[in-house]
């Protein structure tokens, strides 16, 4: 039987074991190397997974199933589809980069690397688990290493941020856990007895009373909305982002937030299609508020990491908005935006971290003129800034446009209001870039070094992908779309707009005379 997914998930644990067994005898450099080799190996394995994955098949693939605790119906079930494959790849891709970016960490290197590796297993596990309780275990397991990364290696207010992050997410997960147990308790009547198997529960959830399903939807939503984060449950994010070490911010923005949006697609939409439609407006409005709110709040930040953090709130709002449009373009755009935001914001945090290592400040007011001192670093930063701004030809634009177009066809207000954030993004990102890069150089910053070899190696693959996914997004969408289509099929009843492209094409073919007014 194929064990590839298990290997992807647990290979980092092998690294943990090596570092643990090595103990004090392991020099810091060796610990770093072990982490790097392990994460790269994991990435290679995930590439093999990608190779074996057939984008044309809509369902779960490479499924592995084993009993774990049969007494309570807990199984070890993992599998990938077109949505999770990209998130897994994004994760395994960003981890070696994060490890390499953490080279300058000097404090308790072995512990740090153990936390990183454990985090990778937990995140990959969350994306692959097809058993609700197994997912919950991985989902919660993310918190522990992340807590230590923020609390142990963060900056001044790290303890506050770490505890806030931990408690906030835990509070959300409590609802997830209750809802999971409720579903489980209802599954005892099934043939195989009580189970946490997502596929079995999907069947079951369809038969639940409408009100029950709606409550369960909300319980799941709260857990994931905290993680996304969806307005107004976002306030842990700026603190966590700001205080976390560079790699922590990169991973937080790059992959951790996506666990939330992924959970919404995988669980909320799949399990409770009727409730998803029922709450679509509520969630969309929150998403639009979040998009604008995050952008407006970012306008005035003085701490550059906080600014990027608020921009994440805004960008993740796009993802949620796209998902709840229930059109092929909207949802695909949302998933695309997950990957793209991970890359673009990941790059921003990497670069901000590199600047911080040199200038030892995150205050915009204390930077300035850096472009004259470190042209390559700031040039790279500008590239990432424009990717984030949503410049066509770079990756974020594709997702953003698909979300806006996919949403506009369903609700013009949501689409148009969300587009306003595109203006605001240009304002806050360019404003901050100007404060950092342009103007006269400050005396204390003269003589700072430009990108070194390690940093170039860290950045090059990310930047390359920013361009590649902007010019040829088909690489991503070809795999995403069938999986998305399957989700939409469940959520949206026949006769509704699910494909913005299709509806109109038919009208042209039939030669229908003016619509327009009717749909408005």
């Amino acid at each position: 039987m194929n064990r590839l997914l298990t290997l992807t998930t647990f290979l980092p644990v092998a690294g943990v074991v090596v570092v643990l067994v090595g103990g004090r005898a392991l020099r810091d450099d060796v610990a770093r190397a072990v982490a790097l080799v392990t994460t790269i190996a994991t990435f290679l394995v995930s590439l093999v997974v990608f190779g074996k994955f057939d984008p044309a098949v809509p369902g779960y693939q490479l499924v592995e199933q084993a009993e774990w605790v049969p007494a309570i119906g807990l199984g070890y079930i993992v599998g990938v589809d077109g949505v999770s494959i990209w998130l897994v790849l994004l994760t395994t891709f960003l981890f070696p980069i994060a490890v390499l970016a953490s080279w300058p960490v000097e404090k308790d290197v072995r512990l740090y690397m153990i936390a990183m590796l454990a985090l990778e297993t937990a995140v990959v596990g969350s994306f692959l688990a097809l058993d609700l309780l197994l997912f919950f275990l991985f989902f919660e397991a993310i918190l522990v290493p992340m807590y230590f990364l923020i609390g142990g290696w963060g900056s001044a207010r790290r303890v506050y941020a770490a505890i806030k992050f931990f408690l906030y997410t835990m509070a959300g997960s409590a609802f997830l856990f209750l809802a999971t147990l409720f579903l489980w308790s209802r599954s005892s009547g099934l043939d195989g007895g009580a189970t946490f198997d997502l596929r079995a529960l999907t069947e079951l959830a369809g038969g639940l009373p409408v009100t029950t399903a709606r409550w369960l939807f909300l319980a799941f939503l709260v857990a994931f909305a905290v993680k996304v984060p969806l307005f107004p449950l976002h306030t842990w994010l700026p603190d966590a982002h700001t205080e976390a070490p560079t790699a922590g911010s990169v991973l937080l923005a790059g992959v951790l937030l996506k666990v939330g949006t992924y959970g919404i697609i995988r669980f909320n939409l799949t399990l409770f299609p009727e409730a998803s439609r029922y709450f679509a407006d509520l969630v969309s409005i929150l998403a639009v508020i979040g998009i604008l709110y995050g952008a407006v709040a970012a306008l005035i930040q003085t701490d550059i990491k906080r600014l990027v953090a608020y921009s994440s709130v805004s960008h993740l709002g796009f993802v949620v908005l796209g998902i709840f449009a229930f059109t092929a373009q909207g949802v695909t755009g949302g998933v695309l935006q997950m990957v793209n935001h991970g890359l673009a914001t990941g790059a921003l945090f990497l670069l901000v971290g590199m600047m911080y290592e040199r200038t030892h400040t995150r205050e915009l007011a204390r930077m300035g003129g850096l472009a004259s001192v470190m042209p390559w670093l700031l040039g790279t930063y500008l590239f990432a800034v424009f990717a984030s701004v949503g410049l066509p030809g770079l990756n974020s634009f594709v997702g953003e446009f698909l979300v806006i177009a996919g949403t506009f066809a369903v609700n013009q207000w949501y689409g148009a209001l969300a587009a306003l954030a595109v203006i605001l993004a240009a304002i806050y990102l360019l404003w901050s870039y100007q404060r950092v890069a342009y103007g006269p150089v400050r005396d204390e910053h003269r003589g700072l070094g430009d990108l070194n070899l390690r940093e170039s190696v860290v950045l090059a693959p990310v930047l390359a992908l920013l361009l590649v996914f902007g010019v040829y997004p088909k690489l991503l969408t070809d795999a995403i779309e069938p999986a998305v289509a399957r989700v939409i099929e469940r959520v949206q009843p026949a006769g509704q707009t699910t494909d913005v492209g299709e509806v109109a094409v038919q009208q042209v073919e039939i030669g229908l005379v003016p619509d327009g007014g009717q749909q408005e």
């Binding site: 107004p232 410049l391 997004p473 088909k474 042209v508």
Partner: protein, 637 residues
């Protein structure tokens, strides 16, 4: 309305079309990464590649001309860009009469400006970077005009915005340059966002962004309201890019960039993209009853506001900037009257004479060692003859003196206004023509005539030939463009563009020769008036302007649009952001979260008081509890 064209087969050199944008892109890539090692060669490489692109464009367009007018359309599919469900966007290039006109202008004028830049940027340490950006700009501009669907157009649209940002802020050590760059990008982004929503609107109604598909079914697909919505949203983008009211404020500040940039981006090419967009989207605009009238009014108002503001400027480049805004207003005016071919003719002619004048002003600034204030110049014609005379050619062309390019363009426009029963437009347009003659006359007489007013002006020197040769070529263009493209309503360019943009509107009104006479008289009167005030020595210039206060100051500040925006938008916007971030977010939303935390902490504070440390009291509580439990069980039994 224009019917859809049948795309023709790939014949002759047409498949080479992709080379046109690719060559500058290659130049940009090379210069960006290894430009510094190339040294002087960087500029020559960039110029050569744009020139090569021009050559390819000429060859391709010649082959296009060989095709019959009804099939004069070639679409090249490069690769699938975005495909989601039934919604497909290809990376497609489209060559037709309209885009072929544009690529010739972009690559032609572009290569001259590149050549000029070699001289202009010779002493700049980062000149390789400059040429990389300039090449990149040409690439995006070509993508913009060659795009076969709205999304590819939008790619170029945003791309030129990016290059504009990079180039305005090229000397970013100065805060004001960086500010101007950001202002330009953000202001145009406002329009761009409207345009993006417009694209979403089109997707909603058509399910595609392809020009042929959209225009082909527009009549059947759109209600009047929907067409108005789409047209106005697209117009938003056009207004931003072409610096029309109310988004015109960024262009004068954009003069902070190196002068070749002002010539290429902020005069000849990028700012005309808005006109191109309106002309390209004409089938959509025409479905709406109010869209084109709005275009017309915006053009008219912009023309007058900017034309008057140009009169008050003292910085030579800012005069030209406001002049550009004003001239773009003319083009919008033309498009608003459905005279698309006239708009395009104006666009081409303007590209020549305005690029010429910007480059000339750059030459002046170069010769004056970075002095831009016209009050500190004077008498430069003798010291910089080539620059001076070519500039004068450009100025006469702009003023509309026959038989130069500007005359034909403006004359045709006013003729259409008169012949289609728009007397107000005609009169205001004529006043606009007088204004342009006045401000350009003022510029020329202040700069090139009279006596040198400063030491610098005394010692100004002519620029090297790498800079003056492009001036001469452009001057020939400014003289000849009118003849070659021909003026009258049935002229050559109108005929060429007809399959794409339809016929120039006709009607009855004053005879053509009367209109032409009025037009040229107005131009000459304007120039003479300018001479009287600024060069004849009969009028005390300073006292004259003093007496008119506060008008000159108002004009110098561009009618205070910037200040109004600062007070009405920037200040409240910042306040709103501050409230959102530091009150709503920090105090309320996060306050609630931290409040929950504090609440739990407070309860715990109370609860821990129970922990007295007296072992015996614990024992007592234990006993009481045990007894109570037993009693409860006993009662239950």
């Amino acid at each position: 309305m224009v019917g859809a064209l049948a795309p023709s087969e790939a014949t002759g050199s047409l498949p080479l079309l992709w080379l046109v944008p690719s060559l500058p892109l290659a130049g940009a890539a090379v210069n960006l990464f290894v430009g510094r090692r190339l040294g002087k060669a960087a500029g020559w490489l960039a110029t050569a590649l744009v020139a090569a692109s021009f050559a390819v464009a000429v060859v391709v367009v010649l082959d296009l001309l060989a095709i019959g007018t009804e099939e004069r359309l070639y679409v090249q599919h490069l690769f699938d860009w975005i495909t989601v469900g039934a919604f497909e966007v290809g990376a497609d290039l489209r060559l037709d009469a309209l885009s072929s006109t544009m690529i010739l202008v972009v690559t032609g004028v572009g290569s001259l400006i590149h050549l000029y830049s070699i001289g202009y940027m010779a002493h700049d340490a980062r000149s390789a970077r400059f040429f990389a950006y300039l090449n990149l700009f040409v690439f995006f501009m070509l993508v913009l005009v060659l795009g076969a669907n709205y999304l590819v157009l939008y790619l170029g649209w945003e791309g030129v915005g990016l290059c504009s940002y990079l180039l305005i802020g090229f000397w970013y050590e100065k805060t004001e340059n960086a500010n101007a760059a950001k202002k330009a990008f953000v202001t145009t982004r406002i329009g761009d966002t409207a345009m993006m929503v417009g694209l979403a609107f089109i997707v909603w109604k058509f399910g595609t962004l392809d020009f042929e598909a959209v225009f082909g079914s527009a009549g059947a697909q759109l209600t009047e309201a929907a067409a108005t919505g789409i047209a106005l949203l697209l117009l938003g983008g056009a207004i931003g890019k072409s610096a029309q009211i109310p988004l015109q404020v960024w262009l004068p500040d954009a003069m902070a960039g190196p002068t070749p940039v002002s010539a290429l981006i902020h005069a000849a090419t990028m700012v005309t993209a808005g006109v191109y967009l309106v002309v390209r989207s004409a089938p959509l605009f025409e479905l709406s009853d109010i869209a084109l009238p709005i275009v017309l009014v915006i053009g008219l108002v912009t023309m007058l506001v900017a034309g008057t503001a140009a009169l008050g400027q003292t910085d030579i480049k800012r005069v030209l900037a406001y002049s550009t805004v004003s001239q773009l207003g003319y083009m919008f005016l033309a498009a608003g009257m459905r005279a698309y071919a006239a708009a395009m003719f104006m666009l081409v002619a303007h590209a020549f004479y305005k690029a010429l004048m910007f480059l000339g002003s750059g030459s002046v600034i170069h010769g004056m060692h970075d002095e831009q204030d016209m009050r500190r110049m004077g008498g430069l014609l003798r010291r910089m003859p080539v620059t001076g005379w070519t500039f004068i050619v450009g100025a006469i062309a702009l003023a509309g003196v026959p038989p130069l390019a500007g005359f034909f363009a403006k004359d045709q426009l006013l003729e259409i206004a008169n012949h289609t029963g728009r007397p107000v437009v005609w009169i205001l347009g004529t006043i606009g023509a007088l204004l342009s003659a006045l401000y350009i006359g003022r510029l020329v007489f202040l700069t090139f005539f009279g006596s040198a007013r400063t030491e610098q002006a005394e010692h100004a020197h002519e620029s090297p030939s790498v800079m003056t040769v492009p001036l001469v070529i452009l001057a020939i263009g400014a003289i000849g463009a009118g003849f070659v493209l021909n003026s009258t309503a049935e002229g050559r360019i109108a005929h060429y563009l007809e399959p794409v943009v339809g016929e120039v509107p006709h009607g009855d009104g004053l005879p053509v020769w009367v209109l032409g006479t009025i037009g040229s008289t107005v131009a000459i009167v304007g120039l003479v008036l300018a001479w009287l005030v600024y060069a004849s020595g009969k009028v005390d210039r300073a006292a004259f302007e003093e007496r008119l206060e506060p008008l000159p100051r108002t004009l110098r500040n561009g009618w205070y649009w910037d200040d109004a925006y600062a007070k009405l938008l920037v200040v409240p916007g910042k306040a709103a952001a501050r409230v959102t971030a530091f009150v709503v977010d920090a105090k309320w939303v996060d306050g609630l979260v931290n409040g929950v935390g504090r609440g739990v902490g407070g309860l715990a504070q109370v609860g821990r008081l129970l922990q007295t440390g007296f072992v015996r009291s614990y024992a007592l509580v234990f006993l009481v509890g045990a007894v109570a439990l037993l009693a409860w069980i006993g009662v239950r039994l």
